[in-house]
Symmetry: C2
Subunit: 131 residues, 2 copies
DNA sequence: TTTTAATCGGACTATATTAGTCTTAGAACT
DNA sequence: AGTTCTAAGACTAATATAGTCCGATTAAAA
């Protein structure tokens, strides 16, 4: 438990590949999925997420694909994982939507929020360049 | 994503409660589940795990229950979560049993293992006393 | 000695999350 | 126009988590 999703893994692999191709070369999804043996449709979804959050840029049409929208040194692990899997919520009740039945008696929320914050800070120190 | 399981949450709450009762007072599972509104059977399982891993001691029979087996300052968050949910494996392929289809081409494993290690180190710095 | 109040442990079910697929549409290049 | 891409949503499958049930065991208390 407490692990990154496969989607995050795939996303990291793909990003690393895209970054390795330089700033201007576009790489298409199929190419990546074949090279690393990743499920093509799923990878497509992941790249879309990364594109929406502005980490990569997409180029439509024939000969299209993806390229970096930022420098690798400016893309953090936190940012990547968040754009693929949503915010890091170490503790369920830190999400807005949840109504926790033990909330009134809960003795650990504050402390876990604190840990969560440190965790995010840690993930923010790691960039695609390090990967 | 990337959150502690509810079991871990419940375990932390229970542990904190047990620790608060002093070294020698036994607390039974029902008592805790009622006080914090936790599913009794599930909590029982969790306490069994904590007992097996030597964080708490169980006392059988009528009037039995649990008490701390260690000082709160000696029980780390890592230890607690691990005994409830198993080892922290940020990346699936760090487990022995998994055969990852992308392993040969995988470009991120080493780096993620590194992150995983730092994460564990971080969780090891937090003890029940801090909670 | 019997009853009672606990833990232990395994099997089981239900629910939620994650992973993956399919299909259609839209954009740009040739 | 045809081809090769991305976009996006609906859908299914697989897995992990959460929770329940029940019989066995232990030991204190009546």
């Amino acid at each position: 438990m407490l692990r990154f999703s496969k989607k995050s893994d795939y996303g990291l692999i793909a990003l690393k590949h895209i970054a390795s191709q330089g700033e201007d070369n576009v790489v298409n999804a199929r190419e990546i999925s074949e090279k690393y043996n990743l499920p093509p449709d799923l990878l497509a979804k992941i790249l879309q997420s990364l594109s929406k959050s502005g980490i990569i840029k997409s180029q439509f049409g024939s000969g299209g694909g993806y390229r970096m929208a930022k420098k690798p040194s400016e893309v953090t692990l936190k940012e990547i994982v968040q754009s693929i899997d949503g915010p890091v919520h170490l503790v369920g009740c830190s999400r807005e939507d949840t109504d926790c039945s033990i909330e009134p008696q809960c003795t650990i929320k504050q402390m876990l929020l604190n840990v969560e914050q440190k965790l995010e800070a840690f993930f923010s120190t790691i960039t695609l360049k390090d990967i």
